[in-house]
């Protein structure tokens, strides 16, 4: 059918590529030119400069970018809502329909007719908030650490 976790994962992973790529690019650009030029000067090839100088220098920044993108992917609603199907419960297969917190909130908020239903949805929103907060805090921690390293 194509309405399953696998499709949603592929779509989300493609969606966050630009975000990850732009942060990684900024991170690569922060490598000091003098370090790269020194590597070229002692006879390193382009690949060796990338592998031994640029990537080790910017690895924390790239990792921070990936975690930041993960935070965005967790909060994504509509793209997932269209392809994930709405099935509550734990699924064991990648080819099963499932649901995420954001999709549940988007779908069920309008039909919450009693207090306990509404409260449950608010509690779910709180859980999502805490999860996103922790993810973004970890990402920010790595990015700040990377910036400090570059500032030195």
């Amino acid at each position: 059918m194509g309405i399953d976790i696998l499709t949603a994962s592929i779509i989300l992973s493609i969606m966050i590529i630009p975000f990850t790529a732009s942060i990684s690019r900024d991170s690569f650009n922060l490598t000091p030119a003098i370090v790269k030029e020194s590597a070229y000067a002692i006879g390193a090839t382009k690949w060796e400069v990338v592998k031994n100088v640029v990537i080790p220098y910017s690895k924390i920044g790239v990792f921070g970018g990936i975690v930041l993108s993960l935070g965005r992917a967790i909060g994504e609603t509509m793209a997932v809502a269209f392809v994930l199907g709405i099935t509550t419960g734990l699924q064991t297969s990648l080819l099963d329909a499932a649901t995420t917190i954001t999709v549940t909130l988007a779908n069920e908020f309008a039909e919450a007719d009693n207090d306990i239903y509404l409260s449950s949805l608010f509690y779910l929103a709180l859980v999502l908030f805490v999860m996103s907060f922790i993810t973004l805090a970890i990402a920010k921690f790595f990015l700040i650490k990377a910036e400090r390293k570059f500032a030195r």
């Binding site: 090839t45 382009k46 690949w47 060796e48 990338v50 592998k51």
Partner: protein, 40 residues
Amino acid sequence: MTRERKRKIEGFIAMTLSTLAALLGLFWLVFIIVMCLCME
């Protein structure tokens, strides 16, 4: 094979593969945009 030659070949392979990956990404992007335009 000398060490020098081995390094050059490794660099060449890495650069070729990354160029191919970049071209594949570009092709995918253009493909999706063209498909979207054709669907309208």
